[in-house]
């Protein structure tokens, strides 16, 4: 019996109400879903913005990390160079101390050598004085010998 009503496009009132109720529910749901969708979309945009922000921050962080790594490497290099220079400095300080010691030794040796030369000069003065005195004495003795004034007879 139902069939003929449907064929005619007719529904019972009760069914109609139920359908209308269903439609209202569906529309309410659809509206809620649409709201939810809008909220989700808004949320999604927010998250997207946050994601973009995070991506930007990540990128910046990556760049910063790279910069920091570069700076670290540079610092390492500088430290190595400083170590090398420090080592060189130590070596030079040691060399300098050695040179200073050598200089002091040389100065001491020079003073000793100068004193020895002066002592030699004084000794030479004494020897020369003695030789002159002995020469005078010898000449005096020879001059006093008899017949020495005329020289040796040939």
């Amino acid at each position: 019996m139902r069939r003929p009503f449907r064929i005619l496009g007719l529904v019972r009132g009760r069914s109609y109400d139920a359908l209308e109720e269903q439609q209202k529910k569906a529309e309410t749901r659809a509206e809620r879903l649409a709201e939810q969708l809008e909220a989700a979309k808004a949320n999604s945009r927010l998250w997207k913005a946050k994601a973009e922000e995070a991506t930007g921050a990540l990128k910046t962080a990556k760049e910063d990390t790279e910069t920091a790594q570069k700076q670290w490497r540079h610092a390492e290099k500088l430290r190595e160079e400083a170590d090398k220079r420090r080592q060189l400095e130590h070596e030079r300080t040691a060399d300098l101390a050695l040179l200073r010691q050598r200089l002091e030794d040389s100065e001491r040796e020079l003073i000793v050598a100068r004193e020895q030369i002066m002592a030699f000069e004084v000794k030479l003065d004494i020897l020369e004085g003695a030789a002159n005195v002995l020469d005078d004495r010898t000449r005096d003795v020879i001059a006093r010998r008899p017949g020495s004034e005329g020289g040796t007879a040939v």
Partner: protein, 327 residues
């Protein structure tokens, strides 16, 4: 005058001077007697027990001995403690290494040093006047053993009337022509005019250089170097001594500027600041026979045994060697 040989307690100070009757520098004897009289008076007034030791080196033949003239001059002065030594001129000839040197002043001073009896010995020159400050130091008896004391010599203007010398004349700054300043460490500069040291240390150092007899100039400064190298501190006594005029050396040195080797004091360029010496055991003619005459003058008669070798190069040493030996 208290003659030689008169033994009493050793005095606090022996003053050693040398000379001969040769009129060196003009009126040598008069200048000598005047300074000796002044110094004796001041020391006696300050109650400083002292003696003078005069050494006449190479006395001149046929002239009175200066030692005799000195004895005559001070015969009346009973309080003057004076001992005179006359050295046979043969010693001068035997020791000579430079015929231009007429007077071996520092060997003569060694003769006096060797025979000094005082606790302290001042070797000086005959025409040096002690200052009030020096007399004060001696009076206070604050001198230390093992320290060589030096005094700056103040030269008085030669045009001043010095017929009567007193403190006013000596201390008046207007009368001073030159101050011969002395500086550490050696305090040389006219050091022959004032070298004051205790007798034991003088004997330990064995006096002035007798090894280098080629010059007499700067032998006094060389003694300061010897003292310094022997760890004897040298200090300025803080008071001057006085001398009238600037001295014979100053007056004559210009004559020998072009020919320094011919100077009567020897070549002043000798290496006095680079060497010291170790005198032999017979330093100061310590082995010379002595004979005392009736006037109390002691004669050192000639004996080859008292003369060291003509050349003894091992006794020329560097100051550093000396310091090493001393340490």
């Amino acid at each position: 005058m208290i003659p030689a040989g008169a033994r009493s307690a050793p005095p606090y100070l022996t003053i050693i001077v040398t000379g001969r009757n040769d009129d060196f520098g003009g009126d040598f004897n008069g200048r000598f007697f005047q300074a000796l009289h002044f110094n004796h008076q001041q020391l006696a007034a300050a109650d400083v027990t002292h003696e003078f030791v005069f050494v006449e080196w190479r006395p001149i033949d046929k002239r009175p001995l200066l030692a005799s003239l000195l004895a005559d001059e001070f015969a009346e002065l009973k309080s003057l403690p004076l001992r005179s030594y006359v050295v046979d001129p043969a010693y001068h000839d035997a020791l000579s290494l430079n015929p231009r040197l007429q007077f071996q002043e520092f060997i003569a001073k060694n003769v006096g040093l060797r025979r000094a009896r005082g606790e302290f010995v001042l070797t000086t020159n005959t025409d040096i006047y002690l200052s009030r400050g020096v007399i004060d130091c001696l009076q206070r008896r604050t001198l230390e053993h093992g320290v060589l004391y030096r005094a700056a010599r103040h030269d008085l203007r030669p045009d001043r009337d010095v017929s009567a010398v007193d403190w006013d004349l000596l201390e008046d700054e207007r009368n001073c022509e030159v101050v011969n300043r002395i500086k550490p460490p050696l305090f040389t500069n006219a050091s022959g005019d004032f070298l004051l040291l205790d007798c034991k240390t003088s004997h330990r150092l064995r006096g002035f250089n007798e090894v280098y007899r080629v010059a007499k100039i700067h032998i006094d400064g060389n003694f300061c170097l010897k003292a310094h190298a022997s760890s004897v501190p040298i200090v300025d006594i803080g008071a001057p001594v006085y001398h009238v005029g600037r001295g014979t050396f100053h007056a004559q040195k210009g004559m020998y500027r072009a020919r320094p080797g011919e100077a009567p004091w020897g070549d002043m360029r000798w290496r006095k600041s680079g060497v010291v010496y170790d005198n032999g055991d017979g330093w100061g003619l310590g082995l010379a026979p002595e004979r005392v005459n009736d006037r109390g003058t002691t004669f050192l008669t000639f004996d080859w045994h008292a003369v060291g070798p003509m050349v003894d190069l091992g006794r020329v040493v560097s100051p550093r060697q000396r310091q090493e030996r001393a340490s």
